[in-house]
């Protein structure tokens, strides 16, 4: 059990970008789009069987020919500006022990190739309207990175959100990995695209992935073709609009307030936010049960 290498690329201080499924698949879509955009090459994988239940079996005339597990692969790309490493996983492990173990493997590989900077990416569930451009919430693992993060466009720190005063919690590997990286004195930043509070977490939200990628493209000094994400975002928004049209007016009035900057929401307190969230979720659940929507 461990990491299996197919190739030993010669890399100079690469930057590692990680992506795995999560709310709105924001991080996964961002990392995978970037990987495809630069045409990165696969060179290693984490042997998945100790972490995941297999996804698919192939049996032919009685013989079990193959058993497939969720992929956890490493890719690399040598670029003029910077060498890149990618870790892209099809599933997040269940349980703290396994998540920590995967995190350690990822960082072992990163350090083996002299990586000094890591980016993870995920969702920031926020009071944002789906017609708005999602911002990126950035959480670095070192104070020395704060000034750099402040210079990123369309990006905020947790302390920029009045009600959070710099406090929060990043669940899953996105958070854990930057934490373990800190233990190893590696710089890491988690970039989280804003995701509307009232949208179902299983809905892919490429609009937020695009925001994350715009930030990453500048940091990495790479050109990324985002036209596919733009089309996909448009389609997703149309789907959300269809549901939104059915939302009762009273609920809609509350959601419309999200078009203001979240910090300017004023009259919407914690209790009201929670009530609204519950009401919208209940509405969506009812609609699904009635077969009115298919998201």
């Amino acid at each position: 059990m461990g990491v299996r290498f197919f190739k030993e690329p010669d890399l100079k201080k690469p930057i590692l970008i990680c992506g795995w499924p999560g709310i709105g698949n924001i991080g996964f879509i961002a990392a995978e789009t970037l990987r495809r955009s630069v045409n990165a090459e696969e060179f290693a994988e984490i042997e998945s069987w100790d972490f995941f239940y297999p996804q698919k079996v192939m049996i032919k005339k009685g013989l079990m020919e193959d058993l497939q597990f969720p992929a956890n692969k490493f890719y690399f790309k040598k670029l003029q500006a910077k060498d890149l490493l990618f870790f892209i996983a099809e599933e997040q492990p269940r349980g703290d022990r396994k998540a920590y173990q995967i995190g350690e493997y990822v960082l072992d590989v990163a350090m083996k190739f002299g990586c000094q900077r890591i980016f993870t990416s995920g969702a920031a569930v926020a009071l944002i309207h789906h017609q708005m451009k999602p911002r990126v919430w950035a959480v670095p693992n070192k104070e020395s990175l704060i000034d750099e993060v402040r210079r990123y466009e369309n990006t905020i720190l947790l302390s920029d959100i009045e009600e959070r005063t710099g406090q929060g919690y990043i669940s899953g590997l996105n958070g854990l990995l930057i934490g373990i990286a800190k233990e190893r004195d590696l710089e890491a930043i988690c970039l989280m695209g804003e995701f509307p509070l009232y949208v179902s977490h299983s809905t892919a939200y490429p609009k937020a992935s695009k925001s994350v990628l715009e930030v990453l493209a500048k940091i990495l000094r790479v050109e990324i073709d985002l036209s596919h994400l733009e089309r996909w975002s448009q389609k997703t928004e149309e789907e959300i609009e269809k549901i939104y049209e059915q939302v009762p007016n009273e609920m809609k009035e509350q959601i419309e307030k999200f078009k203001s900057k979240p910090t300017e929401l004023g009259p919407l307190g914690e209790a009201e936010k929670e009530k609204l969230f519950r009401e919208v979720q209940e509405f969506l659940k009812r609609s699904k049960e009635d077969g009115e929507i298919s998201m």
């Binding site: 239940y53 079996v57 192939m58 005339k61 009685g62 058993l67």
Partner: protein
């Protein structure tokens, strides 16, 4: 103090035994556990150990089934005269790979020759029809050897059962293994299916020269069939459903549910237990 992840009550005296596994989670037709229980009863199997459930099952409380609290079971039984090691277990909820390898570690320490898992396959057939016995194996030669019996090689692509995961683990360790999948009428899926059980025991009889008398199962089959026949005579709708299945015509999900409910009511706790 480090505690062992398994408890062994007694080391059985075996000569390259075969391992037979029955999962009691989602045990279609009660086939996996039914076969293990039947073998234990007829061959004088003795409980020799268990894998401790810690790490593999949620143990924040206990589940209550039919008014009784139960904890996940993972038990080994030895039928020494027949050289069979039996394993009756709930399917683990986590750490599948570790669990399956631990099972194979124990089996390997007893120098097992091969292993089998027994499974029911819910099918749109009638209880009076012949049951296909499908097999999946992890080594071609082993599969060819099993070809002597009435087993058909399965074709399948999709989400794997735990039995397939076990076959894969066995293959990595060069232990030949096979899963036996027997068709079980959809309306007997949550009950006992004595005909499916008889077919498996018949296969094991031939494979291991067990000489188990099957009369008891014949009686159960007869009893079950006659009760269903009585129901058919009383209930025109059930008769229609069963006739459709016998003609090879499927039922829609509502019809399947209705039929399953009526058959379940007919046998109730007697058949369930």
């Amino acid at each position: 103090m480090e505690r062992s992840p398994c408890e062994v009550y007694r080391f059985p005296d075996f000569q390259n035994p075969s391992l037979i596994v029955g999962w009691q989670t989602q045990d279609v037709g009660r086939l996996g556990t039914g076969v293990i229980d039947f073998l234990n009863e007829k061959l004088g199997g003795e409980e020799v150990g268990k894998i401790k459930p810690v790490d593999y099952f949620s143990l924040s409380g206990v589940r209550i089934e039919n008014d009784v609290a139960r904890i996940p079971q993972t038990k080994f039984f030895a039928c020494e005269k027949n050289n069979l090691l039996l394993f009756k277990s709930d399917e683990p909820e986590d750490e599948w790979y570790r669990f399956l390898n631990f099972l194979l570690d124990i089996a390997n320490s007893l120098k097992i020759r091969e292993f089998y898992t027994i499974n029911g396959n819910p099918s749109l057939i009638s209880h009076s029809q012949h049951r296909r016995m499908l097999t999946v194996f992890n080594e071609r030669e082993f599969g060819e050897d099993l070809g002597k019996y009435d087993l058909s090689g399965m074709y399948y692509e999709g989400p794997p059962a735990l039995s397939s995961f076990l076959l894969w683990c066995g293959k990595r360790r060069n232990i030949p293994g096979a899963s036996i999948w027997v068709d079980v009428p959809i309306y007997l899926a949550s009950l006992k299916d004595p005909l499916a059980q008889k077919q498996v025991i018949d296969f094991l009889n031939r494979r291991f020269s067990l000489k188990i008398n099957l009369e008891e199962l014949d009686l159960e089959i007869e009893n079950q069939s006659s009760k269903i026949e009585e129901l058919k005579e009383k209930d025109a709708e059930i008769k229609r459903f069963l006739n459709l299945l016998e003609s090879g015509i499927g039922l829609d999900s509502e019809e399947q549910l209705k039929l399953a409910r009526r058959i379940y009511d007919l046998f109730g706790k007697e058949a369930e237990g």
